[in-house]
C-alpha cells in the first residue's frame, strides 16, 4: 500500500521535536478556544495565522508551512473537543457544534455525572478523530488522482459547487449569503491581475497593488468582529459551574455509548466531507438519528449518555472529514477550512490534487500530526479537564483587549504596514455589523480565497473555447458539477416553499 509508506514518512515529519511542540500548542490553544464561549474555531484559527507566521520565521518555507498548518489544524480539531466542556458544565455551548450536547450533557451534570459525560465526550471525539483520519488516508490518493484529470472547466464548475454549497446552507437568508459570496469574490479582484498584469481597482494606491491581504480580512472579520460583539453585548456568565466528580466512565456508560460513537463517527465524517454542511449540522443529525434508533427515546433530553456521545463524536468526525475536500480537491467546504486554505496559500503551498505530489511532507505530515494531536487531546481532556474548566472563569476584561492586541501585533508583524492594521479594524467593525444582522461571514472569506482560482480557471477554460461559455456545459464532469450546484441551491429553496423547516448552519 502506497498510502502507508507515505503515512510513515508523514510520521517522521510529524514526530520531529518542533512539530510535536507545534501540534501540542495547537491542540492546547484549540481546547481553550473550544472552552471559551464567544471565540469560535474560525476566529481562533484566523487569530493564530499571523502568530504562527512570526513563530516560524526561522524555518525554511516548506518546513514553516508544515509546522504552521500542523498548529492551525490542531486548533481546529482541538476546539471540537473543548466545545463540549462548557456545554456539559455550564449549559452554555463553547461552540455552535456543541449546542446539542447541552441537552443531555447538562442534565447529566445536574445528576452528578458530569465526569462521565466529559470522559465519554473525549473518548467519542478521539474515536471519531481516528476514524475520520483513517478514511482520509484511504481516500486522499484516489481522490486527488481523480482531481488531477480535471481541466480548467471542471475546476471552475467544482469551485462553483463549493460556493453554492456553502452559500446555500449558511445563515437564514440565502440572498444575504450569496451577496457575501459575490462580495468576497469582488474583493479578490482588487490588485494586479495575475493573467494580464493589469492593475484593477487600485487607483494608484501602492498598498492596493498586492490586493487585499486575506489574513487581514479574516482576522478582522472573525477575531475583531467577535471581540466587538462581546464588548457591545456584554454577556454575563452567571451560571454555576457543575462539579465534575469521577472522570473514569463506568462500564455501563461505555457499553451504552459504543454504538452512538460508532454511528456518530461515520455519519459525522460523511456530513463533514460534503461542502457546506459542517460540524454543527453533523452533531444535530447524529443526535436525531440516535433518538430515532433508541429503544428508550424518552430518555433523551433527560441525561442519557448516548445524547452526549453521538453529537460529540459527530462534530469531531466532521472536522476530520472537512479536511478531505480541502486537501485533495483544494475546495474548502466551510469557513474554518477556507481560513486554513488561505494560510496554506500564504506559504505558497496550494492545496489540491497536486499537494500530494508537490508537497508530500506538508500533506502527510499534517495527516500524521492529526493522529498524534488526537492522542494528545485525549490525554488533555481526560485527566486535565478540571484545569480546562477553570479557563471558563477567565475574565473577559482581560481577554477582549488582549485579543485586539494580538490581532494588531499579528497583522503588523506579517504585513508591516499601518494600512493593514487600519484595514483590520475596519473589517472588524464591518464583520460585527454584518454578522449581527444575519449576513454570514464564512461565504465572504470563501469567496475571497477562491476568487483568484475561479477567475483563472474560468479564463483558461474560455481561452481554450475561444470565449464560448458553453464549454462549461459541454464537458460531462463539468455539467454534472454545475447541475449539482444548481440543485444544491434549488432544493432547500423548494423545501422552504413547501413549508419545511430547513436545517441551516449558523457558523461553520
Amino acid at each position: 500500500m502506497e498510502a502507508i509508506t507515505f503515512l510513515f514518512d508523514g510520521f517522521q515529519t510529524a514526530l520531529q521535536p518542533h512539530n510535536l511542540l507545534f501540534a501540542f500548542i495547537g491542540v492546547l490553544i484549540g481546547t481553550a478556544v473550544g472552552v471559551l464561549p464567544g471565540i469560535g474555531p474560525m476566529s481562533g484559527v484566523a487569530l493564530l495565522i499571523p502568530v504562527t507566521a512570526s513563530m516560524t520565521t526561522g524555518l525554511d518555507p516548506a518546513q514553516a508551512a508544515t509546522s504552521s498548518i500542523i498548529l492551525l489544524a490542531g486548533v481546529y480539531y482541538g476546539a471540537m473537543y473543548g466545545g463540549s466542556t462548557t456545554s456539559i458544565l455550564l449549559n452554555t455551548p463553547g461552540e455552535s457544534s456543541s449546542v446539542v450536547t447541552t441537552l443531555d450533557g447538562y442534565q447529566m451534570a445536574k445528576q452528578g455525572r458530569a465526569g462521565s459525560a466529559l470522559a465519554i465526550a473525549a473518548i467519542g471525539s478521539f474515536v471519531a478523530g481516528i476514524v475520520s483520519l483513517i478514511a482520509l488516508v484511504l481516500l486522499a490518493q484516489p481522490l486527488s488522482n481523480l482531481a488531477l484529470k480535471f481541466g480548467p472547466a471542471e475546476y471552475f464548475s467544482l469551485m462553483l459547487l463549493g460556493l453554492a454549497a456553502v452559500s446555500g446552507l449558511a445563515g437564514n437568508s440565502m440572498t444575504k449569503a450569496w451577496m457575501m459570496t459575490v462580495f468576497g469574490l469582488l474583493l479578490s479582484t482588487i490588485g494586479l491581475d495575475s493573467v494580464s498584469g493589469v492593475a484593477r481597482f487600485t487607483y494608484d494606491i501602492s498598498v492596493l497593488y498586492g490586493g487585499l491581504e486575506f489574513l487581514t480580512v479574516a482576522v478582522g472579520l472573525f477575531a475583531l468582529g467577535e471581540v466587538f460583539k462581546a464588548i457591545l453585548h456584554k454577556e454575563k456568565n452567571d451560571g454555576e459551574i457543575a462539579k465534575i466528580g469521577r472522570i473514569i466512565p463506568s462500564k455501563e456508560d461505555l457499553k451504552e455509548s459504543a454504538g452512538p460513537i460508532a454511528r456518530g463517527s461515520l455519519l459525522g465524517f460523511f456530513v463533514g466531507v460534503l461542502p457546506g454542511a459542517g460540524a454543527t449540522l453533523a452533531s444535530f443529525f447524529s443526535y436525531i438519528v440516535e433518538k430515532k434508533l433508541s429503544q428508550t427515546p424518552e430518555k433523551f433530553g433527560k441525561g442519557t449518555i448516548a445524547g452526549v456521545a453521538a453529537p460529540e463524536s459527530a462534530n469531531n468526525a466532521a472536522s476530520g472529514g472537512a479536511m478531505i475536500p480541502l486537501l485533495t480537491l483544494g475546495i474548502p467546504g466551510s469557513g474554518t477550512t477556507a481560513i486554513l486554505m488561505g494560510a496554506l496559500i500564504m506559504y505558497n503551498v496550494q492545496p489540491g490534487p497536486l499537494l500530494f505530489d508537490e508537497h508530500p511532507d506538508v500533506a502527510w505530515g499534517l495527516i500524521a500530526s492529526m493522529f498524534i494531536g488526537n492522542i494528545m487531546l485525549l490525554i488533555l481532556n481526560m485527566p486535565l479537564v478540571k484545569i480546562f474548566a477553570k479557563i471558563i472563569e477567565t475574565p473577559s476584561k482581560y481577554l477582549l483587549p488582549l485579543i485586539i492586541a494580538i490581532s494588531i501585533f499579528g497583522v503588523y508583524a506579517v504585513q508591516v504596514t499601518t494600512f493593514d492594521v487600519l484595514l483590520l479594524i475596519a473589517f472588524g467593525v464591518f464583520g460585527y455589523l454584518l454578522s449581527s444582522h444575519d449576513f454570514p461571514l464564512a461565504p465572504l472569506v470563501l469567496g475571497l480565497v477562491l476568487g483568484p482560482m475561479i477567475e483563472n480557471n474560468m479564463r483558461r477554460a474560455l481561452t481554450s473555447s475561444n470565449g464560448d461559455f458553453m464549454i462549461f456545459f459541454e464537458k460531462p464532469i463539468s455539467l454534472v458539477l454545475i447541475i449539482a450546484a444548481v440543485l444544491w441551491v434549488l432544493v432547500p429553496l423548494f423545501m422552504k416553499l413547501k413549508g419545511k423547516n430547513v436545517v441551516i448552519n449558523e457558523d461553520m
Partner: protein
C-alpha cells in the same frame, strides 16, 4: 433581523456592485494570453451583486414589523475601545510597539471594567514587553521599538 439595516446594506451593496461594473469598464480590455480580458470577471460579479441587492431590497418590503426586543448595547465602551485601537494603529510606527501596546491595553482593561489598576498595569507591561522581547530578540522579527525621537 433589522429592516432598516438590511435596506441600508442593500443600497450600499447595490452601489458597490454598480461601482465595480462602471470601474471595470475602464480597465484595459487587452486580453493578452487569454480570450477573456481582466475586466470580464469583475463586471459580471458587480452585476450579480447589484441584482442580489435589488432582490434583498424587495425582500425587505415583505418583512414583518420589526420585533422591538432591543438590547441595551454598550456603545460608550465600544467607541472608546474602537477609537483607542485606531489611535494605537496610527501611532504604532511613530511611538513604537512597547509604549502604544502598554497604553492601549490599560485603556482597554479599564474601559471594560474599572478597578484593579495594578493588575492591569502588570498584565499590560508583561504583554507588551514579553511580545517585544520574544518576537524581536528571540525570533529576530521587526517591530518599531521606541519612539523615533528617542534615538
Amino acid at each position: 433581523m433589522s429592516k432598516t439595516f438590511d435596506r441600508f446594506a442593500a443600497v450600499a451593496f447595490l452601489a458597490i456592485g454598480v461601482l465595480f461594473m462602471l470601474e471595470s469598464l475602464r480597465i484595459s480590455k487587452s486580453a493578452y494570453g487569454s480570450a477573456v480580458g481582466p475586466n470580464v470577471f469583475p463586471f459580471l460579479l458587480g452585476l450579480v451583486l447589484a441584482l442580489l441587492s435589488i432582490k434583498l431590497l424587495l425582500e425587505t418590503l415583505r418583512y414583518d414589523v420589526a420585533n422591538t426586543s432591543r438590547r441595551e448595547l454598550q456603545y460608550k465602551k465600544f467607541f472608546v475601545i474602537l477609537i483607542s485601537s485606531i489611535l494605537y494603529a496610527m501611532l504604532l510606527e511613530h511611538v513604537g510597539y512597547i509604549i502604544t501596546t502598554f497604553l492601549f491595553l490599560i485603556i482597554g482593561f479599564q474601559t471594560i471594567q474599572r478597578g484593579d489598576i495594578w493588575k492591569s498595569i502588570i498584565i499590560s507591561a508583561c504583554f507588551s514587553f514579553g511580545v517585544y522581547v520574544v518576537y524581536v530578540k528571540l525570533l529576530q522579527g521587526t517591530l518599531p521599538s521606541w519612539p523615533v525621537w528617542f534615538s
